[in-house]
């Protein structure tokens, strides 16, 4: 009996570990010369699958629109699923870099996977991050072979801290899961927030029910609530926030991750009127963005998310570098120098790299509304930062 129970609990504890699944997807390549192979390690199974799915689709869209080419040169995108497990990501990276000799990689969604993969790929290959932006790779640990085309992890949180301060919020209730990225998020928020933090609450990473925290929020009656709750956690919280009658009474803020197209259709009206930050928005008026949104919707029959925009920009960036190096990627220094120029039309308007190969860019504030067709979308309502650079760039010794 005792042994049986122990085994039962052991198996229950092993549950959240999702399996590895490896798939290959080859972009069509019609070419005289061998196509340039680009490795995409991303999360395509488990609860984070929608994010990796959008990065992959955004990237593939650029390749498809250009007839299987980037920067005029035929490419082959090799896709593999890390299942949100760092050890899987690392094994795939080793296979791609050491066995298949792939020299350009991208696609990782989660920072823990990124940190496991970085030591394997940086050097033999150049990595262009389309999402994960851990501080470890932005400050002292920055690397000439690592570029981030999305953001440094703190940026969107900093933006909301800045924006609510501009809005004159004096009392904020802030909440995140109790794990490194959760604590970093609230640190980022507080870096630019000047008012009082009435409570800094950390919840379990596997928490489903937020009733206890919602009651505490009602009792504290703050002027703003800031949450960083990725994926399903955010959906749970936003639904419960509305059901508790708090929506419309206390403004709810978050980073764009909790309020984008991967989440909004599942939350519905409960998200209306929530505010969030992002480096990109559906309604940004730039021609490159209009083309991106229109072709994405035509191709995939859904609206793109910020993750899709990041995958799309990563492909454009790689294309710009390939065009500059005439399709040559084995001269690492020349390819990296071409990437650093960022000579591409980003969907988010102005974009350039700082000395640490992370973006210097505008961060927008958005509000969740319904569009003319009744779909849940974000409307841009202002900017929190212009030409914003991350807090770690000064510790990086790479030249500008």
């Amino acid at each position: 009996m005792t042994i049986r129970r122990r085994r039962l609990l052991g198996t229950a504890a092993a549950l959240p570990l999702a399996p590895a699944a490896i798939g290959g997807l080859a972009a069509p390549a019609i070419a005289q010369r061998a196509p340039i192979r680009i490795g995409m390690i991303t999360t395509l199974s488990g609860p984070g699958a929608a994010l990796g799915n959008d990065i992959r689709d955004g990237f593939a869209l650029v390749v498809k629109n250009a007839g299987g080419r980037l920067g005029g040169y035929p490419v082959e995108v090799v896709v593999a699923d890390d299942g949100l497990r760092p050890e899987n990501g690392r094994a795939i990276a080793e296979r791609m870099v050491r066995r298949e000799r792939i020299q350009v990689l991208t696609g990782i969604v989660f920072s823990n996977v990124m940190l496991a993969v970085a030591p394997v790929v940086l050097g033999p290959a150049t990595y262009i991050s389309a999402n994960a932006g851990p501080s470890q790779l932005a400050g002292e640990g920055c690397n000439p072979n690592y570029f981030n085309v999305a953001w440094q992890n703190d940026n969107l949180h900093e933006a909301v801290g800045q924006y609510v301060t501009q809005q004159g919020v004096k009392r904020a209730f802030i909440l995140a899961p109790n794990y490194p990225a959760g604590r970093d998020a609230l640190t980022g928020f507080k870096r630019f927030y000047k008012g009082e933090v009435v409570s800094e609450t950390y919840t379990r990473l596997d928490q489903l029910d937020y009733a206890a925290e919602l009651a505490a929020i009602r009792a504290a009656n703050p002027e703003a609530v800031y949450i960083f709750l990725p994926g399903g956690l955010g959906i749970n919280f936003i639904k419960q926030y509305a059901a508790a009658g708090l929506r419309g009474r206390i403004p709810l803020y978050g980073p764009g991750f909790s309020f984008d197209q991967d989440v909004l259709p599942a939350v519905g009206d409960d998200a209306l009127g929530c505010f969030n930050s992002s480096q990109w928005a559906l309604d940004l008026p730039f021609p490159a963005n209009r083309q991106f949104v229109d072709t994405f919707e035509a191709e995939y029959k859904r609206l793109p998310s910020l993750y899709a925009s990041q995958g799309y920009d990563a492909a454009l960036l790689i294309g710009s570098a390939l065009a500059a190096t005439r399709g040559e990627v084995s001269d690492r220094a020349a390819f990296n120098a071409a990437l650093k120029r960022a000579a591409f039309q980003s969907v988010r308007g102005s974009f350039r790299f700082g000395n640490n190969n992370h973006p210097i860019q505008t961060i927008y504030m958005r509000e969740v509304v319904k569009d003319a067709q009744g779909r849940m979308v974000n409307r841009t309502i202002g900017t929190a930062f212009e030409n914003h650079q991350d807090a770690y760039a000064a510790q990086c010794r790479l030249p500008a």
Binding site: R5, R7, P47, L208, I235, P265, V267, D270
Partner: protein
């Protein structure tokens, strides 16, 4: 913390508890009677939520969605029993764990193929989407009250079924001594299939009921299954009464720890340290409860008489 806030948090704990009960009851019956560890029980919960959400979206009726979710749970459980679980009764627990873990992966991929990787939408019916003033100054979500009502109704129904009917008598007998029941000429295959379907229906029901509160997404079953395992170990394996007691204890311990600890600790420590310690203690409250219960009653609160 005021008395009113305490009442509200107790309601929250109760609601989490009955939700857990609907999943744990099936899990504990299947384990108690068939001696099968079914890790795929959470997949039935997920299936209930997805089918319920789809039917609600198509028909516009949440009630139909609830029925469809429970029916889907029962039907899939029945098919599962016939196709896979039936072959596992004679195997040891490790084989069962491996096979049902494979089922989790299969179900998750199947849902991804059918519904896509993004979470889907399910809202409470308009009638239940507001708040109710349960006590002066405490607006409480009407839907959560409905969850409590449905959960308690399910518990009463199970209590009646197991305590007062012939089927229940056979189930109780099966939990205590399977071989004797079989020797007395009871069609044990049919009994097992019925219990499996019953567990599946409850899990499916829990899935739809959870939909408006939680994200309906791939992998939702595994998150709640871990708590359900804690519940049945605390309550005593195979006991429905134990599952009820365990669910309520786990629900209340989890909610109270999260609600009360920050307030208590803020009186003792500086705010930042208090928040940090409260977060860490709150995370392990459920497991502390389990450790304490097991050290006092190693067979759980209501052990079956093996």
């Amino acid at each position: 913390m005021t008395a009113l806030l305490f009442v509200e948090q107790t309601l929250n704990g109760l609601q989490l508890g009955v939700m857990l009960f609907m999943i744990a009851a099936g899990l504990t019956l299947i384990f108690g009677i068939m001696d099968v560890i079914n890790l795929a029980h959470g997949s039935l919960y997920m299936a209930g939520a997805f089918v319920g959400a789809t039917v609600t979206a198509r028909t516009g009726s949440f009630a139909l969605g609830v029925l469809a979710g429970a029916a889907a749970g029962a039907l899939i459980a029945l098919l599962l029993e016939l196709a896979v679980i039936r072959r596992l009764y004679a195997r040891d627990h490790l084989d069962q764990v491996l096979a049902t873990y494979a089922l989790i992966l299969t179900f998750n991929e199947a849902v991804k193929v059918l519904w896509g990787p993004a979470p889907i939408f399910l809202a409470a019916p308009p009638l239940l989407s507001g708040t109710v003033e349960v006590l002066p100054g405490i607006p409480y979500p009407a839907y959560r009250l409905a969850v409590i009502a449905v959960g308690l109704a399910a518990a009463l129904f199970l209590g009646w079924l197991i305590g007062r009917t012939r089927l229940g008598m056979l189930i109780r007998a099966g939990t205590t001594n399977r071989e004797t029941v079989q020797a007395l000429g009871v069609d044990i295959g049919l009994l097992f299939a019925l219990v499996f379907a019953l567990g599946g229906a409850l899990a499916g029901l829990a899935g739809v009921m959870a939909g408006p509160v939680l994200a309906v997404q791939v992998g939702m079953g595994e998150q709640i299954l871990i708590l359900a395992f804690v519940v049945i170990v605390v309550g005593g394996l195979g006991s429905v009464r134990g599952a009820m007691a365990g669910s309520l204890l786990v629900g209340l311990a989890d909610t109270w720890a999260r609600a009360l600890l920050p307030v208590l600790l803020r009186g003792l420590l500086p705010p930042a340290a208090a928040d940090q310690v409260a977060a860490n203690l709150g995370s392990v409250a459920v497991y502390l409860l389990m450790a304490v219960v097991l050290s006092v009653r190693p067979q759980g609160l209501f052990p079956r008489h093996a």
